[in-house]
Every structure is written in C-alpha cells, then in structure tokens.
Symmetry: C2
Subunit: 348 residues, 2 copies
DNA sequence: TATTTTGTTGCATAGGCAGTCAAAAATTCA
DNA sequence: TGAATTTTTGACTGCCTATGCAACAAAATA
C-alpha cells in the first residue's frame, strides 16, 4: 500500500519532490517500470521507456540515491581523506582522483583533516555513510586501519604504508628517488651534505630522509640533519641552521620536499648571496608546479601523479567489486628532473 | 514485521552489517529506543541509553546515514563544485569550507570540474543525492542556476554573481581591489599601463579587468590589454607581448591574478633583465602563498578567505534551515599588500 | 492451430531508520 | 496509600527504490 493513497502527482518546484511513483502515475505504468528505466540493462520495452522518461523529464524526476543505495547496499561513494590540502601537491592529486572516480560513476565524500584528532570524527562519518571504499592520504593508527577491515570498507593508502597492518597502498618510491639524487650528487663530487626533514610524524618524510641517509652511507658519506615542516619557511630556516652548524661549508642540501627546497633556494640567494648551483646544490622531492618556475628550476624527483592516482582508483574499485582481493603495495618510481638548482657534473 | 524474522544478532566483521534492530535485540529494548539513543534531545532514560550504547559499541553499530536521510529528508550533505583545483587559490578555500561545514555536522560531496560539459553531469548527481545545499565556485548558466531553485537546493556562489538570476553569493570586491591598486600606481606616477586578463569566460577576470580599466579611465589613463589564462606562463607570455607592443615602454603591469604576476616577474627579470620595482611595477590579485615568498613579494590584494568561506558556509546553512531567505550578495574588501613588486611612491 | 519461446510488466517485499501515538513505568503530590 | 502527572517505551507505519517472482502478451516454432 506504499504511497498508494496519494493520487495527486507531485512535481519539482511545488514543494515536494516527485518520486518514482509519481512518474509511474503520470506515465500510466507501475513504479517498477519507472525504476527499470533508470537501471541500465533492465528489462523494459523501448516505447514504455520513452513514455516513462518523458514523464520523468516533465516532473524533473531523478532517482533518490539514498533510497537506491539503501536497497542495493551500494552508495557509490568513496571517502577521500587528506591531511593538509595546503601542501601544494595534494590539490593535483585530489583533482585527479575525483575525476577518475567520477569517470567510474563514483562520487567523492571529502574529508580534510587539520589535526590528528579529526581522524576519528571523520571515520565515524565514513562508517555512517556506508561508503563503498576509501582513499586515504593521512596518518592512520593501526587500530584505525583495522577498523576499515571491521567495517568492510576497502581502503587504499596514498603515499604511506600500513605500519604493520596489511593494507593496499600506492606510493612513490622514496628510497629509489633519493638514491638517484644522492648518486648524482656524490658523482658530481659533493662531500658535505645537509638534510632538511619534514614533520616527525610524516611517513613520507621518514622514508625520504632514510633513503638519502642510507645511500649517503653506502658512498661513505653522511649528512647533518635539521628538522623542517614541509613548508617554505622551513627551507629557509633549515638552511640557516645548517650554514651555522657548518660554518658555511655545505656542498649539497637535500630537502624532503620541493617547497622546502624552494625556501632554501630563496634563502641561499637572498640571505647568503650564493649562486646556484655553483656554490651550493639543492634538491627537493615531488615535482610541484612552482618547482618548475623559471626562477627555481628545482632539481627534484617528480611523482608520477597520473599513474599513481590511476592506480589508487583502480585498486579501490577492484576491492569494492571483489572484497577478497589481498592487500597489495604498488610503488612507482619518480622521474628525475635535472633542473638547475643542483650541480650534477664534476667541477672543471 | 520488518526484520522481525531474524533472530541471530549480526555484528560488524561477520559479513553483514548490524542494524538498529540487532542492537535492540542485544540490549533487550525496541528498535525505536536504539534510534532515540542516537538522536540528541530524544526522550530516553539514562540507564537505557547506557545499555544501548554498550550494545552498539559491542556490535560496532552506527546509524546508516542513507536510511536516516531517507526518512528525515536531510542528507547532511552539501555539494561543493570547484572548477580548477590547480588554481593555487582554491585548495585553501576548499579546506576552509570543508572544515567549517564539518563543524556544523555537514559533509562535503566534492565535484571538480575540468570542462564546462562536466557541469551537467555533476548537477545530475547533485540532484540524485538530495544534498541539502551547494557551494559553487564554477561557471553556471542561468538555466543551471534556475535548476537549483527547481530542485529546492539552496546554493551560494563563490566569487561570482548570478548573471541575471537572483542568487546568494560571496565575493571579494574586485572593483574596490583594483581601484586601490590603480590609485596607488597612478599616484606614484606610472603612466603606461598593461593588463593581462584571465580566461574570457571567467567572471572574476572580467570584473578585475573592468575594475582596473574603469579606474584608469577615471584618472585619464588607459591600458593595453592582452589575454592570459590565469597560469604562470600566461604571465610571462603576456609581458612579452606587451613589451613588444610598447617597444619596452611599460610602467606598470596589472595582472588579473597572482600566478600571472609571478610569471611576469620571473620573465621581467630573466628575459628582460629588469629590476623590480625600479624598472617596472607588477601587481596581482588573490594573495596566494607563493606571492609572499621572499623572491616575489607580489604587490597584490589578498582575498579574506577566512571571512569569505565563513560567510559562504553560514549563508548556505541559513538557507537550508529557512528556504524562504531571499538572495543576498555579500562582498568583502580585500587587503592591500604592498609587497615589493610595484613602486607606490613617486620617484626622487 | 497449438505450443513453446522470448520479452514485458506489475505485485509485493525488503532495505534501515525516525517519528507518532498510546500504553506502561516511574515519579510526584496529596 | 492512591491519584495525578510526567517520563519512558514499544508497536507500527512511512520514507523511496530495486528486484524476485509470477502473470501476461507477443512472437516464433512445430
């Protein structure tokens, strides 16, 4: 007897939103027929379909995604959790991800996290909305990761690993990237190295710093390390600290990301009056847009954002369709960008 | 008789997700009681509530947002449509908006638009998900705007107006901002002006260019205008074009945004060997992060992002709660940033 | 023409939760 | 202690759509 009492047809613009039942009434068919018109592959006669769609257009009817999600157990939503959007690198990632998901008929429920404590509140909503999957570029505790399994939400981590918990992930190869940079810097005869790290709790920073240190060690070198925060001023402050510690005897500066490399370049030129790359080599990581500006031309490793986002989206969709798929960690090599902020040839 | 047949209690982790009915079974209460425990202000005894919440925790139960949205006719979703996320300025806006909405218990359904044609597909989904409201930083046709009214979705435009259609909007005052810049440039004795516009279809670009031209006219000046696209290379190419057209006799360059101003600064220094602001004044608009970097220190108008996003979120929430509120256009003055890329004092 | 096959359609129900209403329990007051 | 409240509770219904099933019509085959 559902809705059967209603005899007046509702249409958009008159207060109430029309339902499939209203369309059925207008088109002179059953509600089921209307439903079938909006599901590709359903059994419906072409002429009926045409009549129904005409009625639907007249009433401005579109199926209610919440109602259909309720019954199909598919929300066609994927949660995207991103920690700091202001990172210059993430906007590109986010745009790519939403576009690719959208191409697959999936919408993005966005969560931007400022603080660690935001994560639990965000996850609470993730569970409530019964998202089909999640892509996470933020720090999760093992317990939080485990919750994804408990709630049957397939998750793909972006540029981080599961910290013990087995989980699908897409990463840019930090060790390989730093290895390329260090090998070239060492090959060009640099001897005194400095490193500016990212925040302590950043997995990406840890990996990049470790990668650089390991490879420097392999060559019999080591580096002075100062802490940064992945932002512009960290690069400048980091360079100042290193110059003070070394009395200005620094050959090469390895920054955990491009933004700090940019800050260091500006500082090297403006504060110390250095000429790059003659007096000092500076390298970064990421390949963000400003790194390519004429004024900087940062020597760096560019993350293959297209391929990485493509992989992340493909992985989450695969796991939505087959929840039995095992965790898989895909690592992509970055492209070396020679730039002009570092010297990669031996001196005269 | 809904679900009444089921006697085994389901819990997360065992295939099926638990429902309020499962929690009720475990806690020994009715489904209604469970529902009331998750709605603030509902009539429920403290001890019952405690027992229910314990049961819910044990089963990892959280209300299904789609089911409750279906019945309350509130999705607690707001659609956010953004055209080009790579704009350097929008990430900050997006982060602010999601945070503020989240503080009000509202989630963001994100749509990033690459092309004009994406809009209709996105709107289709906006209607299907029965979002409570929308914030749009993208170009909409009057017909598309009208659809929001037809579908009873309150909408707030960000940095654009309704083009005839009355609609709520939040803008940064382009005319006032350009007026400040032009007045100071003219006051400092600049005489030969150039303008680099944004894309033709950008409302923001049109307003800024018009604002600059109007004010220049007021002072008895005019400007050569070349087209840009709001990106870094547009700034460089624009400057080259203007230098060619004026035989290098250019006093001041007004760029429709900071990114182009940055491109122009790099070009002025590297290609033309100019010294800023002695040889040429360059101004932008927005106040994006790189504009403040030591190397640029762009003279610009900073949009009050915090206040603007706060207003946008407040306006959309007000209109969700009271759909009878009239359209309102709120315009915020930007802050003048002196910077160091333009000369604002008269020569010797 | 009788029968099978193919293709459409409608009925009825499920999906998970919120709100109404009346009954039950707890509380207050005399 | 009993009556009058007030609070709490549970049965039931509706929100809107998708789908299995049976009924049906149309087309194809024998």
């Amino acid at each position: 007897m559902t809705s059967a009492k209603r005899t007046e047809i509702r249409q958009a613009g008159t207060g109430e939103r029309p339902t499939s039942y209203d369309v059925a009434l207008l088109a002179g068919v059953s509600q089921s027929a209307v439903s079938r018109c909006f599901r590709a592959g359903a059994s419906i006669a072409p002429k009926t379909r045409a009549r129904v769609l005409a009625a639907a257009r007249e009433l401005d009817y579109l199926p209610n995604a919440m109602a259909s999600g309720l019954i199909t157990r598919r929300s066609n939503l994927v949660a995207v959790l991103i920690s700091n959007l202001t990172n210059l690198y993430y906007p590109e990632v986010l745009a790519e991800i939403t576009k690719r998901l959208s191409d697959n008929g999936i919408r993005v429920l966005l969560f931007t996290l400022q603080a660690e404590s935001d994560v639990d509140a965000a996850l609470d909503q993730v569970w409530r909305y019964r998202v089909d999957g999640a892509i996470v570029a933020a720090r999760l505790s093992p317990a939080q990761l485990h919750d994804f399994a408990r709630h049957h939400v397939p998750v793909v981590l972006y540029n981080r690993l599961g910290d013990g918990e087995p989980v699908a992930s897409v990463c840019c190869d930090s060790l390989g990237g730093e290895r390329q940079l260090v090998d070239r810097l060492v090959g060009a005869g640099h001897k005194r190295f400095g490193i500016i790290t990212g925040p302590d709790d950043s997995y990406v920073s840890q990996e990049r710093v470790r990668g650089a240190q390991v490879r420097l060690g392999h060559h019999g070198h080591h580096a002075l390390v100062v802490n940064g925060a992945f932002d512009y001023v960290s690069g400048a402050n980091g360079l100042k600290a290193l110059m003070a510690q070394t009395d200005g005897n620094l050959d090469a500066l390895i920054c955990a990301n491009d933004l700090m490399a940019i800050g260091a370049v500006d500082c090297a030129r403006n504060i110390f009056g250095l000429s790059l790359p003659a007096d000092l080599s500076i390298v970064g990581f990421d390949g963000v847009a400003p790194a390519f500006w004429a004024n900087y031309r940062i020597s760096t490793i560019r993350q293959p954002v297209r391929r990485m986002t493509e992989a992340a989206v493909a992985m989450v969709i695969e796991r939505i369709e087959d929840s039995a798929l095992p965790p898989e960690a895909r690592s992509f090599a970055g492209d070396f960008i020679e730039g002009a902020s570092a010297r990669f040839t031996t001196l005269g």
